[in-house]
């Protein structure tokens, strides 16, 4: 069913997400700190043995993946937060207003994508300060492109979160979601090791992980190169997969949200 969209409704739901994000400083700080631990400890600890991959040192290699981790967790959880809106009743306030559910959920998705992208920008800056990137004109230009990529990646994952949140009933599912969806997606995304030269089953698993393409895209933006497996057109393949994933997930999230119970 096609529902009329209301710009103001989309905007106000987005605004609420931003306000709530801004106020949940503890959450922001802890997720940034977590990423710093990964970069610092793995970068220093493993980096010594590994040296690096694809011509960059291990810290630089990991940085796009760790940014991706912030994007992934931030966006899925902000989508899943429709559970909380329902549980705490605020959903009813939105449902009884003369605006379509599509407007509400698009606001939610845009809001979640914006906050997760802000998180990604913070992580990008932190990684930069830690020396993960080579300062150059090309890098600055790439960083701006990366912000666009982040919005595309995160809105898809917020859509996934909304789809999950509209289907699941309760908080208990959170733990399962984290263990069986988020962590495998994160670890298979190529954050710690490149896909090239891995055993075939692992390569297949990685190629099935949508986050793999997100990280690949970020790596092209920030480091100017990707995996050998996808080749020189890796950025285009990744962009296409991320875009298709985005469209599918936003549609699925919108559909499941529209038919969910409050």
């Amino acid at each position: 069913m096609v529902q009329p969209l209301s710009g103001q409704a989309i905007y106000v739901v987005l605004l609420r997400e931003l306000k709530r994000y801004w106020r949940a400083k503890a959450r922001v700080i802890s997720s940034v700190a977590q990423s710093i631990f990964f970069l610092a400890i793995f970068g220093l600890g493993l980096g010594g043995f590994i040296g690096g991959f694809g011509g960059v040192n291990y810290l630089s290699y990991m940085a796009p993946g760790i940014i991706g981790m912030g994007l992934l967790f931030g966006s899925v959880f902000s989508g899943v937060s429709v559970i909380f809106d329902r549980q705490f009743g605020f959903m009813k306030e939105m449902m009884v207003a003369p605006v379509s559910r599509t407007s509400i959920i698009l606001g939610k998705i845009l809001g979640g994508a914006t906050t997760a992208t802000i998180q990604g920008i913070i992580l990008m800056a932190v990684a930069g300060i830690m020396g993960a990137f080579t300062p150059s004109f090309a890098f600055v230009a790439g960083a701006f492109v990366a912000i666009g990529a982040m919005l595309l990646i995160t809105s898809g994952f917020v859509g996934l979160g909304v789809a999950i949140g509209s289907t699941l009933n309760d908080f208990h599912a959170f733990q399962l979601l984290s263990t069986f969806v988020m962590w495998p997606m994160f670890m298979l995304s190529g954050v710690f090791f490149p896909i090239d030269g891995r055993p075939l089953p692992l390569q297949v698993a990685m190629l099935c992980d949508p986050m793999f393409y997100g990280v690949e895209l970020l790596r092209w933006c920030l480091l100017g190169a990707g995996t050998d497996l996808l080749g020189p057109l890796g950025w285009l393949i990744s962009l296409a997969v991320v875009a298709i994933f985005n469209i599918l997930m936003v549609s699925l999230g919108t559909y499941l949200f529209s038919r969910a119970q409050i």
């Binding site: 103001q8 409704a9 009743g89 009884v96 969910a260 119970q261």
Partner: protein, 409 residues
Amino acid sequence: MNKINTIEVKAITKIFDGDVKAVDGISFNVKEGEILGFLGPNGAGKTTTLNMLSTLLRPTSGTATVNGHDILTEPDAVRRSIGYVFQDTTLDIELTGRENLDFHGRLYGLERNTRQQRIKEVLELVQLTDRADNFVKTYSGGMKRRLEIARGLLHYPKVLFLDEPTLGLDPQTRRSIWEHILHLNQEKNVTIILTTHYTEEADYLCKRILIIDFGKIVVLDTPDNLKARLEGDVVTLLFKDPAAIETFRPLLESKDWIRRINVVNSGNNYAAMSRMMQTMPGMSSNIGMGGTVPEMDSRTIEGKRKIPEQVQQKSEQDVADKNPHFGGETCSKCLNLLVDNGGHRIPEIVKLADEAGVILESVELHKPTLDDVFLSVTGRNIREEEGSFIDMVRRHRIMQQARGRRVRG
């Protein structure tokens, strides 16, 4: 009184899952500026009716118009015409009071200037101006309720739905909410439908009362007319020994000046139980989301399941509220008589008891209240909501389903 009907309900019915009739073909009109009260126990169909009138729930059959708009064909126009204050809190507690209002104003498409001016106005109306910029999580229950009422008014609705506006509030706060409701009804000429299971609330606020039970209208009339139906006085007898009720009752039945005798049943307290189910974390997670109706848990009924502390307090509060005429005692030992000229008959009743060797602990005389009306039209006491186990299960099922229902987008 030649006012137009703001709400016209035509044979509206809601059947859940094919066989549970939550609302059973009810029709009524509400005039402009009227306060109509839905009075009935939990699960009677009050909230389901409001959800249909507010277009959140699609009726199985029948329809209604609200402010001249059909709920089936013009849901957006209906939504614009109504404010709905839900039974449970629907505020964002992470936002301030003002931000909650601002969110609402934007959602209803109010321009910036209009929005700010109206936010100021409604905050003053419910006396929350001082606390407007505090986070809602710091508000008391009564303040949250007032904020929700203010929010419901922000877009100047023609009609306001208040679902149990004072449930769980202390008497003082309840009184102040009542004053706010009356005030805005008179000041803004807002037509109001409120649901309640507090008879004194219905009596105080409503121009007319619709008693609803098992989805059907039992009676619809003004409070005074309802009470006038019970001509005479209500005499309540408290027995020392409940067993004596059965021996004494036949003696009373032979007297022609006694119009009606009602045993006031003690509750198995469905109200407290259902509230307990709603409040228990494990249960509530099933409510309203999965759509699965949880199996009635026999452990719950036997009371072995641990009851959260707050619920326990609530139930105790209920018991204390239950029958003010007996200082909070539950009435398994009471008999209600509807008597002509009650004051003059008390000596006779006492004499009768004496002769029969029945010991009366106290005798109370009062004018009929809506509690008595409810008892006489439904055969049950509204507070205790006693009934057979089957009734209880049925109500529980209806409520579960009503809560878990898909809502129209």
